[in-house]
Structure formats: structure tokens, C-alpha cells
């Protein structure tokens, strides 16, 4: 039966939708921000270390990159486990506080700290390796000229390196936004399928539980379309840049 925009009306009048959207936007901003900043910093570090340290780090990054998400989730739940997780042990031994039997999955904030650490850890290698490749495009002569003119490290980075990196950073940021906004496997499995409630949904898990698990396909499809529209709006930068690449050819 055709019911016009009723499903959209239901969704848009549901406070859970708006809370979830807000939570997802904050989650995306934090994850993308951390991924991009840390990934770029590590790429800059790669330029400054000896060859063997660079090799070591690259091997490490590739190994991390290669971890299947479901495997990474299992490793994270083992490491952050309240009873004998190594995280609690390390934090206690470093005198950060008494984390003996600390449960990391009690509050929404704590749950998402764990999910964020997992996602950022897994996303850094791609960003680092791409930015590192782009760094080789920065002309040595320009950097040296800036240094001879007395520019400090930060100025050299801001005025010489950054403009060269900008296109790559832009694409990486757009891609990260798209991926993190739709993240499902990590929040769903790490927090646990049974622990998902309206107080800790992300768009993807919200959609899954409201639309799919409760088989309310109409509502689910409405949420899907809203989600696609939001992602489409966010990925305009990326698609336009890619199109330009396509046209040049």
C-alpha cells in the first residue's frame, strides 16, 4: 500500500533518530579527526627516521592494515576484557589508576572510546602510507629554500608541505568521513549485539535494529534513504574531485 511520506514523517518525528544522527556526527568527527591527524603525523615521522626504523614501521603498518575487522574486534574484546584484559593490567601498572576489573563497556562514552581506538588503529595505516607517498612529491629545493630564508619547522610545514599534501588530505578525509559515518562491524560486534539500545545507537546500528531486526522495512528504508542523502552530501567533494580525474583522462 502506498503511504506517501508517512515513513519519513515517522522517522523525522522520532527523537531517537535525531539523537542517533547527532551521536553519529560527533563519532564521525572524532574518528576522522584522530585518524587524519595521527596518520599524517606518523607519515611525517616516517620521513625523519633511519631506513631500518622506517622499514620496521612500514611492516607494522601493513600488518595492522591487513587485520580483518572481525578479527580486530575479537582482539580488542580480549585486550579490554574486564577480568583479565591486558589494558587494565597496563593502566594499573602505569599508575594511571586502579583499573582492576574495570568494565569498559558500562557507559556509552566508554564504549565508544574503545570503538574509536579500534577504528582509528585500523584506519591509520591507509592514511599514513598514502600521505607518505604524497610527501615524496614535496620538492626538496623548496623546503631548503624556506629553511635558508629562516622559516621554522612549522612554517615550512604550513606553507610548503601542506599545500602539496592538500589534495591527498582532502580525498582521504572525504573517504574517512564516508567510512566512519557508516561504520557497523566494529560498534555492532565490540559493544555486542545484545548491548545495543537507543542510548548508544549509531546510524548503521539504529538502521539495522529498527529496520531489519524488527523487520519494519518501510521505516528501515526511510532511514536508509536519509542516511544515503547525508553521505551523498558529505561525499560531494570526493566525487567531484574523482570526476575531474576522470575527465582529464
Amino acid at each position: 500500500m502506498y503511504i506517501g511520506l508517512d515513513n519519513f514523517r515517522t522517522v523525522l518525528h522520532d527523537p531517537i533518530f535525531w539523537h542517533t544522527l547527532l551521536r553519529t556526527l560527533v563519532f564521525t568527527a572524532v574518528n576522522v579527526g584522530l585518524t587524519m591527524v595521527l596518520g599524517t603525523l606518523i607519515a611525517l615521522l616516517l620521513v625523519r627516521v633511519s631506513t631500518w626504523v622506517r622499514l620496521l614501521l612500514t611492516v607494522g603498518l601493513v600488518l595492522v592494515w591487513a587485520m580483518p575487522p572481525v578479527v580486530a574486534v575479537q582482539v580488542w574484546s580480549w585486550m579490554t576484557n574486564s577480568e583479565n584484559g591486558v589494558l587494565n593490567y597496563i593502566l594499573t601498572r602505569l599508575h594511571v589508576g586502579n583499573y582492576f576489573n574495570h568494565n569498559w563497556y558500562q557507559t556509552t562514552f566508554s564504549q565508544y572510546s574503545m570503538v574509536t581506538s579500534l577504528i582509528v588503529w585500523g584506519a591509520i595505516p591507509f592514511v599514513t602510507i598514502t600521505v607518505y607517498a604524497a610527501l615524496s612529491q614535496v620538492p626538496d629545493a623548496l623546503v631548503e629554500a624556506a629553511q635558508i630564508d629562516g622559516a621554522r619547522a612549522w612554517r615550512v610545514f604550513k606553507d610548503v608541505t601542506l599545500p602539496v599534501l592538500m589534495p591527498v588530505l582532502l580525498i582521504l578525509t572525504s573517504l574517512s568521513i564516508i567510512w566512519d559515518f557508516g561504520a557497523f562491524t566494529q560498534p555492532y560486534l565490540l559493544i555486542g549485539p545484545g548491548q545495543q539500545t537507543s542510548s548508544n545507537y549509531l546510524m548503521s546500528t539504529y538502521l539495522y535494529f529498527v529496520g531489519f531486526a524488527k523487520t519494519d522495512f518501510g521505516i528501515g528504508a526511510a532511514i536508509s534513504i536519509l542516511m544515503l542523502v547525508i553521505v551523498a552530501a558529505m561525499s560531494v567533494v570526493y566525487v567531484r574531485r574523482m570526476l575531474r580525474v576522470g575527465e582529464v583522462a
Partner: protein
Amino acid sequence: MSRRRAGSLGWNIVGIALFVVMIFPVFWMISTAFKTNGQIYSFNPTWFPRHPTLSHFEDAIHRQYFWTDVKNSAIVVIAVVAIALGLSFFAAVALANYRFSGRKLFIVLVIGIQMLPQAGLIIPLYIVLAGRHQVNTLTGVILVYLTFALPFCVWTLRGFVLGIPKELEEAAMVDGSTRVGAFVRILLPLVAPGLVATSVFAFITSWNEYIFANTLLHSGNKQTITVWLSYLYGGNRFVDWGEIMAASTLIAIPVVIFFLLVQRRIAFGLTTGAVKA
């Protein structure tokens, strides 16, 4: 970038510290897999396994459906790689070398489809597959993975095809080769590294995929290995971390191997020196 402070002690120490932090979860997975339960379940961790044991690996591979689901994953991966490669190669050649109506729309779709959040497609794809009785079948999952793998493969291969100078193919045809002959003898070998790279991509995404496998495949003997692993957490109080880490290690190994493979292959210049400027 400047060589000025390259290799200074301070940066090297930061680099090594970073390596230790990044690699720790992977190390911890492998280390736990070889430990005895006594070492696993104590608050004071054992960093390197003492008296390493293979019993967790034995538990994992003898658990119900492990081999069945490895086989399912293998079937899905092989089908996706073969079909995606075959179709996307021709699409990429068409896209790179020929003008045709609707080309721009095609490019927009190829790029745009990769942007869609997968969670948003669960319901529409489920409904379509249910209508064709393809829910809880590997065929359904293969079709779904193809919708994601194809756009990426087409786009990547197009880049590789573009990297091959037209002059090479034209020279072959001038020398009396047919279009097909030039295609087989010139284009195909030169695109080979691209084919390797894209097939590894298709391999990794379909081996790792979880969302659709989990929603589409219901019976234990029809699931893929990632879904099998996600259920290993178990419902009872006792969680067998040794077995979970052993299984995780086993499932990560193929991906690691193929990742190392692609790293090497992509680095080769494609047509360096084939045509003099």
C-alpha cells in the same frame, strides 16, 4: 623532504615506540593463541608464551563448521574475484579507450556506488534477494559482494589501462596484428599487475566482509568464516580466549599473505621504458 634530521636518535626512539604500540594487538593475538590457559587467565600477563601449545588451534579447527565455513568463504572469494576481474577488465578498457553515450553517467555511478554506506543497503538488497529466493545462499552473497567489488575494480583497472600508451597497441596493429591480437599480446600482459592488484582487493574485501554475510546467511553450515568467528564469543560465562585468538590468527593469515603480495606488485612501474619520449 629534508635529510637534515633524518635518522636522529630522538625520532628513531619515537618511531620504535610507535611500532610497539601499533603492533601490540597483533602480537597479543598471536602470543595468546600459543599460551596455556593458566597463562591466559591470570591478571599478571605472560608477555611471551611459556611452554607454547597448539591445543587452541586444534580446538578452533575442530569446532563445528570451521572447515565448512572456510570452504564457503573460499567459494565466495573465488567466484567474486573471477567474475569481478572478467567483467571489470572489459569495462575498464571501454572506459579508458572509447567514447560512448552515457559514459559520464557510468563514471558517476562507478564512483558514487562506492560511497554508499553498506548498512543503508541491507534492506533493499535483502528484499531483492528474498524475492529471488537467494537469501541464505552463497549465490546471493556473491551477487552482493560483486556490487561493491565491481565499481572499485573497474575504476582501478581503468587507471592501469590508461597508463599503457596507445602507441603500443597501434604499433602492433600497424605491424599486421588484429585488434584482438593486439589486445591479447600487448594490453593483457601490461595490465597484469593491475589485474593482480584488483583481484587481491576483491579477495580481501570478500574474505573480510561481515555485515551482509551476517544478515543474509542464517544456517551455520552456510555462513562465511567471519560470521563463524563472530559467534565464537559464545553465550556462556567462560570465554575461551585462547581458541578465539587461535582462530583469529588463522583467519588473518590469508589476508596478510595477499597484502604483502599486492604491496610488492603495485610498486612495479607498468610501462616504464616501453615507449621512448
